[in-house]
């Protein structure tokens, strides 16, 4: 530890400069308070925060495996219930743990209705192993297992719609958030913890190392995702979208051109067809969630 702060997620951890996941962890605990038990899956956050014999967590924290944090969390919830204890339980996982390898455990835990909050820090690829594609990687992003090349434009599939999948499990509260809007994230964590039953928050967490931008631009990149409509911050209560952040939308290239993972869309020459497809994704998001602010002419 290099020092102490007033935060329950302590300084001195080993995240990259500009890491959104570290900010997400700090914000979650600021909102949740000390009466909280955290279950982490294997991934960047787990590794940078707990190299034995150090820990950045000033709340009880447990890591078991990559894919089982929601199963571990359901055991903890049952254990606390049996003992008559009142701590809140938060499971945290990256998008690899959440969208892909942990899907079975998450589906089971949500269907059973355990009272816990699952938070996914979504940096849109397997970052801990060195930037491989996941089910959360966006269309056309270049990763080390979906590299752009002479006959590839990068990742061929759009993001899996996990919030909708978990809402369909009957989750009473599902929300998306962004590291670029921390007060909003904080409110959503509080709401998720106050709501009984399994709740889910998916936080957009730009990764400077994996996406290819300078660490001081993390917040700007997060904002641009929202402002282009490629990420929508919304809330779902009992399966219905109740709130979505409205924006005056910018063209998607404002977001794409800032990141190395989309560089092949602009160099050696601008690929209008592919950029148009990504613009169509943003347009569809805007229509689905009604996020466009109509400016008076």
């Amino acid at each position: 530890m290099t020092g102490e702060t007033c935060h329950l997620f302590e300084v001195g951890h080993r995240a990259c400069g500009g890491c959104a996941a570290a900010l997400v962890a700090r914000t979650i605990l600021d909102a949740a308070g000390k009466n909280t038990i955290v279950v982490s899956s294997t991934g960047c956050m787990e590794v940078f925060s707990t190299p034995y014999p150090e820990t950045a967590w000033n709340v009880p924290w447990i890591h078991s495996l990559f894919e089982n944090n929601s199963a571990v969390a359901s055991g903890i919830v049952a254990s606390l219930k049996k003992q008559g204890r009142k701590e809140k339980v938060i499971a945290i996982g990256g998008d690899g743990a959440t969208f892909d390898i942990g899907m079975l455990c998450i589906s089971g835990a949500f269907e059973r209705g355990h009272d816990f909050l699952y938070i996914c820090y979504d940096n849109e690829a397997y970052m801990n192993t060195g930037i491989q594609r996941s089910g959360a990687t966006p269309y056309d992003a270049s990763t080390t297992t979906s590299p752009a090349g002479k006959c590839s434009m990068g990742n061929r599939r759009p993001k899996k719609d996990l919030p909708m999948i978990l809402a369909a499990h009957g989750a009473p509260y599902v929300a998306t958030a962004s590291v670029a809007y921390l007060p909003d994230l904080k409110k959503k964590v509080e709401k998720g913890l106050q709501t009984e039953g399994p709740c889910y928050i998916q936080v957009h967490a730009p990764c400077c190392t994996g996406w290819g931008f300078e660490g001081e631009k993390t917040m700007n990149i997060g904002k641009l995702a929202i402002e282009t409509g490629l990420w929508v911050n919304y809330e779902m209560e009992d399966g219905k979208v109740t709130r979505a952040k409205k924006v005056v939308r910018k063209p998607v290239e404002a977001y794409l051109k800032e990141q190395r993972r989309f560089r092949h869309l602009f160099k050696p020459s601008r690929n209008e067809a592919e950029i148009a497809k990504i613009q169509a994704i943003a347009d569809w998001n805007a229509e689905k969630f009604g996020i466009d602010i109509k400016l008076k002419k």
């Binding site: 000390k34 034995y52 709340v59 447990i62 199963a71």
Partner: protein, 385 residues
């Protein structure tokens, strides 16, 4: 009190008397009767436990890990493919020193698919850091659960434990069992009192990653605790014997071994058949004895060596095969007898539920006398052609 019970139900009752606070399990043949019986007890308020109906064995053990870390006594049960699916979590429980007790209703592993008994499933987890007990009959199957909790939760051990008993042969068979009552079990097994737990009053981090500077020491400590468990098993087994008349202070059981020329070595229900076969062979003047292993991990190396040093030959009955090598029990027995020049013959037998009769045990002894061993016993002719 003597009761006539199906093995699975006897075990379920023993588990109930251990007062598990959280149970997470997934149905799989031939284990299912245990978790059904426990669910019924919870549904009728005979057992005050949280019962998590998980979606897989992988989540069953993961949930137990979390529940135990949060300070509760936990229970699960599985077999075969279910245990294979738990592989990763098994290593995790031992590494994190989580004292789960889990019944393994031994069954073969596919492919080819088989729901019938052998011991390949638990044997395949021999390196995972769990205690492994093997029951000969339903009496042992129940008693070993009390013993397993007592040893697993010991502050100096803190390791998970398998209580293994043979699928169908024991689990689905009715036998008279001397069931303890709740007061008796309570007097032997105190409530779980965790050394540390997930607790916001005293926050701690569990399951950190270890660099090469630390990893080896963690492994050393697990190995040491597992070896130290030898003494704890002996003490707990002695205490159990003094309280209830069945002494489990020895991790092995010697049957007619005093003047034995040929020693059979086996684990589990096959030991009953072996004992009957030995009685018959003894009448015919053959000096045969049995060394039954009740504990496979920790491996009772000293007891095995001591018991076998006087014999002329050893025949090991392995209901498993470490493919490409030998049966797992034979490998351990050979290691225990290293330097003694006593020949150890291995017989892979009773795989995938193939029945073993007294005459098969006689045949094994004959083969050992002829110096023929290290083979699959009773193979169908066509695979040899």
């Amino acid at each position: 009190m003597m009761e006539f019970m199906e093995g699975s139900h006897a075990v379920a009752h023993a588990v109930k008397y251990c007062r598990p606070q959280v149970i997470a399990a997934y149905p799989i043949t031939p284990q299912t009767h245990i978790v059904e019986a426990l669910a019924d007890m919870v549904a009728n308020c005979h057992l005050d436990a949280e019962y998590i109906t998980v979606e897989s064995e992988f989540s069953a053990l993961s949930a137990c890990l979390g529940a135990s870390a949060a300070g509760s006594r936990v229970y699960s049960a599985t077999t075969s493919q279910g245990l294979a699916l738990m592989f990763e979590v098994c290593f995790n429980c031992a590494g994190m020193r989580i004292p789960v007790v889990m019944s393994i209703v031994n069954r073969a592993l596919g492919a080819p698919l088989s729901i019938w008994n052998d011991q390949q499933d638990s044997i395949s987890l021999r390196d995972s850091g769990w205690l492994q007990f093997y029951a000969e009959d339903n009496q042992e199957a129940t008693d070993l659960h009390y013993l397993a909790y007592k040893v697993a939760e010991d502050r100096n051990i803190l390791l998970p434990a398998f209580v293994c008993f043979d699928g169908f042969i024991l689990s689905h068979t009715y036998e008279p069992v001397d069931m303890l009552n709740q007061d008796q079990v309570d007097s032997f097994l105190p409530p779980y009192s965790p050394v540390q737990r997930l607790d916001s009053e005293d926050p701690m981090s569990f399951g950190l990653f270890a660099s090469p500077d630390y990893y080896t020491e963690f492994r050393y400590q697990i190995d040491k605790a597992l070896k130290d468990a030898t003494k704890k098993i002996s003490l707990a087994g002695k205490e159990f014997g003094e309280m209830f008349g069945r002494d489990y202070s020895e991790m092995v059981e010697a049957y007619r071994m005093d003047d034995a020329d040929c020693a059979l070595v086996a684990m589990g229900s096959i030991c009953g058949t072996v004992k009957d076969a030995i009685d018959e062979m003894r009448k015919d003047g053959k000096k045969v004895g049995l060394l039954k292993l009740r504990t496979f991990r920790p491996f009772p190396e000293k007891e095995v060596r001591k018991a076998l040093l006087g014999v002329s030959r050893v025949a090991v009955l392995d209901k498993n095969i470490s493919l490409g090598a030998k049966g797992a029990v034979a490998l351990e027995v050979k290691d225990a007898l290293y330097g003694s020049m006593i020949p150890v013959f291995d017989y892979i037998i009773a795989l995938g539920g193939r029945d073993v009769r007294k005459k098969d045990i006689r045949s094994v002894v004959d083969l050992a006398e002829k110096g023929k061993g290290d083979l699959f016993y009773g193979l169908r002719q066509e695979v040899l052609e």
